[in-house]
Symmetry: C2
Subunit: 197 residues, 2 copies
DNA sequence: TGTACATCAGTGAACGCGCGTTCACTGATGTAC
DNA sequence: TGTACATCAGTGAACGCGCGTTCACTGATGTAC
């Protein structure tokens, strides 16, 4: 009897990560119900059947993909922030978040803006996972914010991030380009004034 | 040959309105894809086939229902505002919007918070219709806001409404009740300080 | 070094269900005469 | 006042499609000996 029959290679892990990465973009771009497993796998030159070798369900993938999206966004923040002059980090963060570019590219942007209104409708297990990722995100981003105590900074961060995501979503909703611009601009000015020392 | 064969009664109009009203609640509560025509009609003791005597498509209904939702919300505002002491209208509006009650009842609440992130994915025709309703809403609500010119007030209104809807959506997303409370409270304090003279 | 073989990621057909939309129909309404 | 009949809101079976999930399979990997 064999007891030590090892599985081959770590390639599985890699495939799994490719799926999550692709899903993260697709979900943000098209919403939870706009993404079909077969399509998603097809984009990676895989067939849909294999999906269940990696995930229990589409919902599980959704939760992981959203969590991953927060990390993505933070990476984008970090990139922008190092280019900022000292003291101007927060301003850069706000300007980037409320940019036309972010507005036009939901699939690589903030998952809160892209998916927020559908998340509350997912089952608790999914939401708990997303919740954790979000708190983590909040905690990390709050380091850039003003506030005497950590609690203060986190409260500010909550308000800033939710406010900006609301403004971005609103901008994406309106059909008129000019209106979109002016929403973004008004929000930029407001949040910079409110939060940048 | 008869030329003047009138249709019977105005009852059709009434049915149509009942459908829009029910849809307005259902869509807010479950999202665009969470509502099935047959279900919706069933709730009104009608069968699904008749739906197409009133609407071209589900999307058309969605657009109308969302537009209707804005009116609903305004009616709720108006009700709260008359109870406020003079000068305190805006504060009441903010407190009501960011209340636990609004948070717990998306189906009778703000469509922006309930549906915002899926609207951008609808075809242009739908968005244009929703857009018009939203501008109308904005214009009317902006009368309660501070600001020297009408443009100023509208800009403020844009920022306030989008910000609050972001905060409300975030509160609905988190799984933990205490966190939900503290999001709402932080946002309430912030927006009251920022906008109430 | 070579051969048998267990494992398991990935394949693709099939299942089953939900649901938007169509369509032939029914029966109540109310006008024409 | 009564009767024939056109209209059309509402019915419910049927169609067709998309899609999540399952399952028997294949073939490459790499271990055992």
């Amino acid at each position: 009897m064999r007891i030590d029959m090892r599985y081959p290679a770590h390639q599985k892990q890699e495939t799994r990560e490719r799926i999550v990465r692709a899903a993260s973009r697709h979900f943000r771009g098209r919403g939870g119900e706009g993404v079909a497993i077969a399509d998603l796998m097809g984009k990676l030159n895989l067939t849909h059947g294999g999906f269940y070798k990696h995930f229990d369900s589409k919902e599980q993938l959704f939760a992981e993909a959203v969590a991953k999206s927060f990390e993505d966004v933070r990476a984008g923040f970090a990139e922008a922030v190092v280019k900022a002059q000292p003291g101007g980090e927060l301003r850069v963060l706000i300007e980037q978040y409320l940019s036309l570019e972010h507005c036009a590219n939901p699939d690589s942007g903030c998952p809160l803006a892209a998916l927020a209104s559908e998340i509350p409708r997912y089952p608790r297990a999914v939401r708990v996972k997303i919740d954790r990722a979000m708190r983590d995100h909040l905690k990390k981003v709050s380091e850039c914010l003003p506030g005497a105590t950590e609690k203060d900074r986190q409260r500010n961060c909550l308000v800033l991030l939710s406010g900006m995501s609301g403004a971005l979503t609103l901008a994406r909703t309106v059909a008129d380009k000019e209106m979109r611009q002016s929403i973004l601009q008004a929000a930029r000015e407001f949040y910079i004034k409110a939060f940048c020392p």
